[in-house]
């Protein structure tokens, strides 16, 4: 139990640290949301100063941080200048859309990576392994942006997928099942882009972790007992190779909010990506801080989940934790 308490304490300190640093860097960055107003001759400097005072941008930094923490505790996470509303509900709607996309992509990517990586590890050096390695290398060197653009071009030319947004224009008139189908259709393209971008790294990690344990004497001993090959691979080898893969899984959970930003922007998915991009360009400072904090919470939660899973999966960690 102390193992988890220690991990939770570390996570709490990390979140506090990230919030302070993000707040500090955002405040120190030149310019703010009201600077553009100064260029507008129709808005008097007094009005701009009054707006700055209204949103308390003229107060000292520690005081502003204190007020932001207070609003965080009240579930608001500050106030968006551009949307004129509390940040938390604004972010939550977008985060929900992002999660729908990234959770689906993560599940599909892992479901493909595990059998592909294991297959590749068991056929190490053979033609099938080389072909798969070639494909994953090719995908690895293609950055997300050209990959997403290429898929977009394919969608436009072929007409197989809707090419932007999350729903069709006539969404409101559809029945619940048609609505669900419409969302799934719109998800296909960004999900493919995200899966293709995550898959090569996952396949390579699974391949290397499984190939490493396949030579372990305890697996040879199990093989000599007459164990079935499928059981040997999926129950013994995969479990033995699990620790680095669980850590990687923690990272992919951590990247659920931040990993799809570029794809969302390119494919006009109404997730956190476009919102944060707009907020950064407009210097809508509390939205940016909220977005960073959301991503950090996911990263910390992903790592915590990985710790819990490793603790559950590996008796050696339990023994060491108990010994401490």
């Amino acid at each position: 139990m102390t193992y988890f308490l220690r991990r939770l304490m570390q996570a709490a300190f990390l979140l506090i640290g990230v919030s302070i640093l993000t707040f500090l860097f955002s405040a120190l960055a030149p310019g703010n949301y009201f600077d553009e107003m100064r260029l507008n001759p129709q808005i008097s400097p007094e009005t701009v100063a009054a707006l700055r005072a209204q949103y308390q941008l003229d107060r000292p930094l520690p005081l502003r941080y204190g007020r932001w923490v207070n609003s965080l505790l009240h579930g608001e996470m500050g106030f968006s200048f551009a949307y004129n509303s509390p940040v938390a509900p604004l972010l939550w709607v977008r985060a929900r859309n992002t999660l729908l996309l990234t959770l689906t992509a993560t599940v599909i990517a892992w479901a493909l990576a595990l059998p592909l990586g294991i297959w590749s590890a068991t056929t190490l050096g053979r033609v099938s392994d080389r072909v798969l390695s070639g494909v994953t290398s090719a995908l690895l060197v293609v950055p997300d942006l050209p990959l997403a653009l290429a898929l977009l071009i394919l969608a436009v030319r072929s007409g197989w997928f809707p090419t932007g947004g999350m729903v069709s224009v006539a969404f409101e008139n559809l029945s619940p099942i048609q609505k669900m189908r419409d969302i799934v259709l719109h998800m296909e393209l960004p999900v493919i882009a995200l899966v293709l971008s995550a898959l090569p790294i996952l396949v390579r990690h699974v391949r290397s972790a499984v190939a490493d344990v396949l030579e372990a004497p305890f697996l040879r001993a199990a093989a000599s007992h007459g164990i079935r090959r499928r059981t040997l691979l999926y129950r013994y080898a995969l479990r033995a190779a699990a620790n680095p893969l669980i850590s990687l899984f923690g990272f992919s959970v951590g990247a659920l909010l931040s990993g799809s930003l570029l794809v969302e922007v390119v494919m006009s998915w109404p997730g956190l990506g476009p919102l944060l991009l707009e907020a950064i360009l407009a210097r809508d400072f509390y939205v940016v801080i909220g977005g960073v904090l959301y991503s950090t919470i996911f990263l910390v939660a992903g790592n915590f989940l990985a710790d819990v899973l490793v603790f559950w999966a590996d008796p050696r960690i339990r023994t060491r934790a108990a010994a401490k």
Partner: protein, 269 residues
């Protein structure tokens, strides 16, 4: 038919790809022939890379030889398919060099030792556990350590666990692949004595793979010396130790650690 294991003209070749992409054939075993009688021990001695472990894997049916025959208890096992091998595997068990890596770190001692019985679908849960307890006692692991994981045992105890696990399926042939090499001297002696006791009580046959001639002389009835994938010398242990015929045998005997080695060592010509 008084031989338990007969190996005839065994060959194993690997194809490996060089950095430039060209292929090279490596011969790991070449024209290897020998036999072991039931209840006896053959020590297979050789330097690292001489093909000892490849031979062990071929005999244990964990790797397929390129050509040649392996006959166990009158049945040829070289060309069996995976389903038929499942019946044969329990008769040949292995104990590996590295006790730390040869045990599943996720299993308790009892689970480890009863695992082969579970894999083979023998006995029900309670019977498996009882048999595992008997096996642990047989190799000198106390009952109260049954729930400990591999990490909580010393090197010697882990090797005892590996031996207990290998005995679970009542094998006819036990392949000890450098099973004593990673242990310190006093533990080596304890495990060697345990092996001798088990052989006497259970009538086991050992293929003892080592590079240590001292231990080979202590445990084996016969000794085969391997070099570059071939058996270059084979004979009764006493004869090979007293009057080695090959240069490599003399070198390996000289390399064996013992007190006053220089005085008793055969001369290198």
């Amino acid at each position: 038919m008084d031989r338990l294991l007969i190996v005839e003209k065994l060959e194993k070749r690997y194809e490996c790809t060089r950095v430039r992409g060209t292929k090279k054939e490596v011969t790991a075993l070449q024209d290897v022939s020998f036999s072991i009688g039931p209840g006896s021990t053959l020590a297979l001695v050789g330097e690292s890379g001489s093909g000892k472990s490849t031979l062990a894997l071929c005999i244990a049916c964990l790797d397929r030889p390129t050509s040649g025959r392996i006959v166990l208890d009158g049945n040829e096992i070289t060309s069996l398919d995976e389903k038929q091998l499942r019946e044969v595997r329990p008769q040949i068990q292995l104990v590996f060099q590295d006790p730390a890596r040869s045990l599943n770190p996720r299993f308790s001692a009892l689970e480890m030792v009863s695992e082969p019985l579970l894999v083979q679908g023998r006995l029900d849960r309670r019977e498996r556990e009882n048999r595992a307890r008997v096996l642990l006692a047989q190799v000198g692991i106390s009952q109260d350590k049954g729930l400990q994981k591999a990490e909580e045992f010393s090197g010697g105890q882990r090797q005892r666990l590996a031996i207990a696990r290998a005995l679970a399926l009542k094998p006819k042939l036990l392949i000890l692949d450098e099973a004593l090499s990673a242990l310190d001297c006093s533990v080596q002696a304890q495990i060697a004595n345990l092996l001798i006791e088990l052989q006497a009580s259970l009538g086991l046959t050992y293929l003892f793979i080592t590079h240590d001639f001292g231990m080979a002389g202590h445990l084996a009835d016969d000794i085969a010396v391997m070099q570059h994938g071939k058996i270059v010398e084979l004979g009764a242990a006493g004869k090979v130790l007293r009057a080695p015929e090959q240069e490599i045998t003399r070198r390996l005997i000289l390399a064996a650690p013992r007190l006053g080695a220089a005085a008793h060592a055969p001369k290198v010509v």
